[in-house]
């Protein structure tokens, strides 16, 4: 997932970014409302994690302005205010979910994945794509009864391609999904990641599942 974390508590933001990145997500971070809104408008995120109380522009004001301009990216409000009326207020302003501090990392990630699934029209965390059985919650891929061990970034790449089998994803699209603004990947990072994934998914002697469309990008080809 490509995530945007708008949180002013620097220690919390840094550790959360670290944890989410280690889980294979690309995370951009903003420390105030203005920067966060600018990034939300500029990039295509799967989910935005938005702190409620921010310096400068308040989290609810950011949310209100994004929704007013028809930005449909799911937003999870992360806040210290856990009163029911605050939750109701956040949700009515356009938030898709609400999580009060302090929270468990596992719960936050589960909620983010659920929001991302809904965003991409997927009801269940498990899905079959050709010979592959992908579980986005447990981060597992099984082919013909055997689990394929992927790195977090490889899994994210597969998750992206498997969302729309047959659709070509350009290098830029893949890069935007896999890497945060801070990552600054090398020019061949996407090619290397695709190569590694292709090798793991298709043992020697089996037809490749990921095809290259020269000059266009990559596609999960199930034909």
């Amino acid at each position: 997932m490509r995530l945007l974390l708008i949180e002013d508590a620097q220690r919390l933001s840094a550790t959360l970014c670290q944890a989410l990145t280690r889980m294979g997500h690309a995370v951009d971070a903003a420390e105030n409302g203005e920067d966060g809104e600018w990034m939300a408008r500029r990039n295509d995120y799967d989910v935005i994690v938005l702190d409620r109380m921010l310096p400068g522009k308040d989290g609810l004001a950011v949310l209100r302005d994004l929704r007013r301009d028809n930005f449909l990216t799911p937003v999870l409000l992360l806040t210290a205010l856990d009163a029911t009326e605050e939750k109701v207020r956040g949700l009515t302003e356009g938030a898709d979910d609400y999580l009060a501090k302090p929270f468990a990392l596992a719960e936050l990630v589960a909620r983010l994945e659920a929001l991302a699934r809904r965003q991409h029209g997927q009801a269940d965390s498990r899905r079959s794509v050709g010979p592959l059985e992908i579980d986005t919650s447990r981060k597992t891929v099984i082919r013909e009864g055997k689990e394929i061990v992927l790195t977090a970034r490889e899994f994210s790449l597969l998750e992206l391609l498997a969302r729309r089998p047959g659709q070509v994803f350009s290098r830029e699209q893949i890069e935007a999904r896999l890497y945060s603004e801070a990552d600054g990947p090398l020019s061949n990072a996407v090619d290397a990641a695709v190569y590694a994934l292709r090798r793991k998914l298709c043992p020697p002697g089996t037809p490749p599942l990921i095809a290259t469309r020269r000059g266009l990008g990559y596609v999960l080809d199930l034909t």
């Binding site: 002013d8 508590a9 220690r11 550790t15 210290a80 205010l81 501090k101 468990a104």
Partner: protein, 459 residues
Amino acid sequence: MKSLRSQLTAALGICICALLVAGGLGTFLVTREVLQEQFDDTLVAKATALITATEIDDEEFEIDLTVQDFAGFGSGGEDYFEIRRGDGSLMVSSPSLTLPGRALVPGFAVPADGKARMVSGFLTDGRPARFYVQRFVPKDDEKREYQDLWLIVAGPMRGMLDSLWVLGSVIAGMSALVLLLTVPLLRVVLAQGLRPVESLSRQVREIPVTHLERRLDLSGQPEELVPLGSSLNEWLGRMEASFERERRFSSHAAHELRTPLAELRMIAELGATWQDQATPERCGEIVKVADELEALLDKLSLLARADAGSQPVEFTAVEMPMTIAVVLERLSGAAAAKNLTIQQQIAPGLIHTDPVLWTTILQNLLGNAVSYSPAGSVISLMASPDTLVISNPAPDLNVRDVDKLFERFWRKSPSHRDEAHSGLGLSIIRACVGLLGGTVEATLDEDRIFQVEIRWARA
């Protein structure tokens, strides 16, 4: 539950009833008095006429029968008289007394003082009557044989009493009728009169706790209710401000307490999930967050003790310039980093205070001034045994903020980026100053110079 309308109806009903009884009784008594006076006047006039009609002719006592009949003392008349000698013996009686069953009171005693008088009594047949007794001397009593004669005139009161009974009945009947009509009329009139009160009451009931910004509509209300409505509106304003303060406190307190906990948890989870993240740096961060929470806890404990009156206060002589210098020394690094100038006017000598609270006040006041003053600005510090005044530029503050500055956890920005400040500083200062018996006031002038002035009560 008591009903104002029922109470007013009952009270007004009782008042009207009392007024009717008093009025009716008064009317009755006055009328009776007037009628009796007229009756007595008539009786006296008749007696006078009788006396005028008596004379001594040829040494014989005579009375003019024409006058006697005209005055109603003749046969069949309703009034009576007797003329008695001073020894009580009957000399003459009216013809009306000759009819069977009619007689004046026998054994009538002659008044000892010899003065005329009017008394009430009963005729021998039991009828109530008025009796007029007067001593007189007939005309032409040249031989003075009839010098001690007494005239007793009596008139039955039945007619007058019948009239009074009719009058009393009419008054009682009318009063009862008025009372019967008064109760429903009162209810209708009071219902009409109390409608504005009910309207005000309905408006108050319809204001939910979640909409304290609403106010009562006083347009069209009677002038007697406008002050009440205005007071209620003021009260609502105070309630709204109080609820808003409470809400701000709750959200800020949650922010200040939950965010460090979230940080602690996240750092711990990071280290627990990925071993390479369990580094000494991460552990150092945990210690730092714990220190901040401990400092916050200390501040909250101090406030709680101050609120509960359990914070010990021990007055002693404190060297004021030295204690200020110690605090300034602690802040010198931060002040130098921002290139701040601290202008000092400190009166030499001792101050009689609690050293712990005094130092807490200085640390919070000067710490705030150093933290929030723009780089390169000037902080002014004036201290004397009576006052402590600290001022510094505060370009981010506005006049509306000044009222909230002493609220616990209030900060201009809700951000949690500045872990060194929790928004408790000024509330701690106020609590400490209160414990030391002083007053504290914060102001912001047109040039955005923020000033905190503490005045100590003179011992």
